[in-house]
């Protein structure tokens, strides 16, 4: 079952950040980390990408074969399909800074 959460694309600074983020979250049913990853992702997107993101949730418990496409090993895993290049972030996205870096919304710090 695929779930899409599409927010309205109109935003004040749409001219600056006009790119639409296509995100795909791989989960395993309702395991605690899967649920946490979805909650964290929604929050981060609303704060930083309001109006220009689309999340597709793929439940590998229901459709394990869909793991092949993005070569998913650990769950949850977030895949940034757009903008290119494709990026994967493994885990429940508990670390907002790291997630923002992974999504290319923050420049990588010296420690990264």
């Amino acid at each position: 079952v695929k779930n899409s959460a599409t927010a309205p694309a109109v935003h004040a600074d749409a001219a600056v950040h006009s790119e639409v983020y296509e995100l795909r979250l791989y989960v395993a049913g309702h395991t605690p980390r899967s649920v946490a990853a979805f909650t964290n992702l929604k929050r981060i997107c609303e704060e930083h990408l309001a109006g220009r993101y689309r999340i597709e949730v793929i439940d590998l418990m229901e459709h394990p074969q869909l793991a092949a496409g993005d070569q998913i090993v650990a769950i949850p895993t977030l895949v940034r399909k757009l903008p290119e290049p494709l990026r994967k972030i493994v885990g429940d996205l508990r670390n907002t800074e790291r997630t923002l870096v992974g999504l290319n919304l923050r420049p990588a710090g010296p420690a990264a």
Partner: protein, 551 residues
């Protein structure tokens, strides 16, 4: 390799390394709780135990029993609730087969649900046996747990005890409501039936007042009075029998009796009703007398009732038949008396056949006077036949097809051996009789009837007066009512017995009730015998005579 290609490969390797490090960090931090395993291009997802924890809690705490069965039907897992339900430790439940817990009588039902580890039906009711032996109704629901291959089966066990309890309560409530409705109908019929004889009786008073000097009128009127009073007495006796049946208080006075005598008496008592409707009644009795153990009066009542019904439910000019025989089907088999009462009347609809012996049931509940009755006759008949260890069955091919009632009574093998009981020698002595009853009309009229029979009789209206009269009148017999003012019947009896002249006096109690408790108190007070109101003078004289002979 060009510097650009090397640069691209380098970036790619760095990205892969970063992803690998990212993955390891996430695992170490516990930020992932499931993994995808690939085997021959087939992917399976495994979750860490911590990921399953919420589900486990859920399954453990749910109010339904849950078990997982393997292909052989062996329980490989059960939740806490199921173990509690079976009153066993979980260790003992796991490893057993689910069918081991199924109540023995329900195994065939269970097999329809689960056979050889394969679910046949997905859900159904059965009973499970607990460790303490109790068998509990449950609802089982089976689910295949393996997606692809046949393997694990999940089963939900729902305890139906409470639900069954509610269902029973609802059914009992419905039965009570039904019984209540029947009683209301019964009371309506009863009021009607009691009022019917009152009109001719009231008319008789007027007739006798005006034409009391005309012997022909007196004769006709008294005959009518006798019939109507007989009707009321029968109704009241039936009513008492209803109460006795519902309190299980009917007792048989069993003795060696003769079938022909019983049936002839029953036929005699319906003769006038039969003649009035111009029915043709055929009586077929065995050629030899048939003796057996039974209550003569009660069995007469049985066949009178059946014959009356046949008369009542057959249109004028019908054919009725009573047929009696002794059956000895096989050597060593029980000897049976089989009496059939059949008619060509209105018959019984098939759906009524099973209910016909229930209390207050009447085929036609309308108040049509030609089919009047309290609807208790057949209930009483069945009860009396049961008490005799017999059976009664009813046959009818439907409405308008007539009906047949067959009574089977156990008899001894020597039933037809002639052993006539010696008839008691009758004398026709005259007695001095004292009657005590606070119903002055009852006491006066009974004394009057006794005097008309050539006896000396006196009436008194309370216990104290009865004692004084007994001392002065010195009667052969005293008939004492129990509930009387000033001194009740028990005390009057004791007072008389305590006197030297009263030791040998015949003392008879008369009462409206005949409960066992009263009988005991009557015997304790010193009475010789006990009669139930209304007192039939002829029967009273027979009793006094037999008591006098005994003394």
């Amino acid at each position: 390799m060009t510097p650009e290609a090397a640069q691209t490969e380098n970036e790619d390797l760095r990205a892969r390394l970063e992803h690998a490090e990212d993955t390891i960090r996430a695992i170490q931090q516990g930020a992932v709780d499931a993994f995808v395993l690939e085997e021959l291009a087939s992917y399976r997802v495994f979750t860490l135990e911590s990921a399953d924890h919420p589900y486990r809690l859920f399954v453990e705490q749910m109010q339904q029993g849950v078990a997982t069965l393997d292909a052989e039907g062996t329980i490989v897992y059960c939740n806490r609730r199921l173990a509690e339900f079976l009153k066993m430790s979980r260790e003992n439940v796991v490893g057993a087969r689910l069918r081991d817990f199924v109540a023995r009588d329900d195994l065939s039902i269970f097999k329809k649900l689960l056979l050889n580890g394969q679910t046949v039906a997905r859900r159904g009711e059965t009973r499970l046996r607990r460790a303490d032996g109790a068998e509990i109704p449950v609802f089982l629901s089976f689910h295949n747990l393996s997606r692809d291959t046949v393997g694990l089966i999940g089963v939900f066990v729902t305890d139906l005890t409470e639900q069954k309890h509610h269902e029973q309560l609802a059914a009992a409530q419905e039965a009570l409501r039904e019984a209540d409705r029947h009683k209301d109908e019964f009371l309506a019929v009863l009021a009607h039936e009691l009022r019917n004889p009152l009109t001719p009786i009231r008319n008789a008073v007027d007739i006798l007042r005006a034409k009391g000097d005309d012997p022909a009128v007196v004769r006709a009127t008294t005959a009518m009075l006798e019939r109507q009073v007989g009707q009321i007495v029968r109704l009241v006796e039936d009513l008492l029998d209803v109460s006795r049946i519902s309190r299980n208080r009917i007792e048989l006075r069993k003795e060696r009796i003769e079938l022909g005598a019983v049936l002839r008496q029953a036929v005699e008592s319906v003769r006038s009703v039969c003649d009035a409707k111009r029915h043709e009644l055929t009586v077929a009795l065995p050629p030899e007398p048939v003796f057996f153990e039974g209550d003569h009066a009660r069995l007469t009542q049985v066949f009178t009732n059946l014959l009356e019904n046949a008369c009542k439910y057959t249109p004028e000019g019908g054919r009725l038949r009573i047929d009696a025989q002794v059956s000895r089907a096989a050597p060593g088999a029980r000897t049976e008396i089989v009496v059939s009462v059949s008619d060509c009347g209105i018959g019984i609809a098939p759906d009524q056949l099973s209910r016909i012996f229930e209390m207050f049931t009447q085929v036609d509940t309308s108040l049509d006077s030609s089919r009047s009755g309290l609807g208790i006759g057949l209930t009483l008949v069945k009860h009396l036949v049961d008490l005799h260890g017999g059976q009664i069955e009813v046959h009818s091919n439907g409405v308008g097809q007539g009906s047949e009632f067959i009574v089977r009574l156990p008899a001894r093998a020597d039933a037809t051996a002639a052993q006539p009981k010696p008839a008691p020698a009758k004398t026709s002595a005259n007695f001095r009789i004292l009657v005590a009853d606070d119903n002055q009309d009852s006491a006066d009229t009974l004394a009057m009837v006794l005097r008309l029979g050539g006896h000396e009789a006196r009436a008194t209206f309370d216990g104290a007066e009865a004692f004084r009269a007994a001392a002065e009148f010195r009667p052969d017999a005293v008939l004492l009512d129990i509930a009387m003012p000033k001194m009740n019947g028990y005390d009057a009896c004791r007072r008389i017995r305590s006197e030297s002249w009263g030791k040998a006096m015949t003392l008879i109690a008369q009462t409206g009730w005949d409960q066992a408790e009263d009988k005991r108190r009557i015997a304790e007070a010193g009475f010789d015998a006990h009669v139930v109101k209304p007192v039939d003078p002829a029967a009273l004289l027979d009793l006094i005579e037999s008591l006098a002979q005994r003394a």
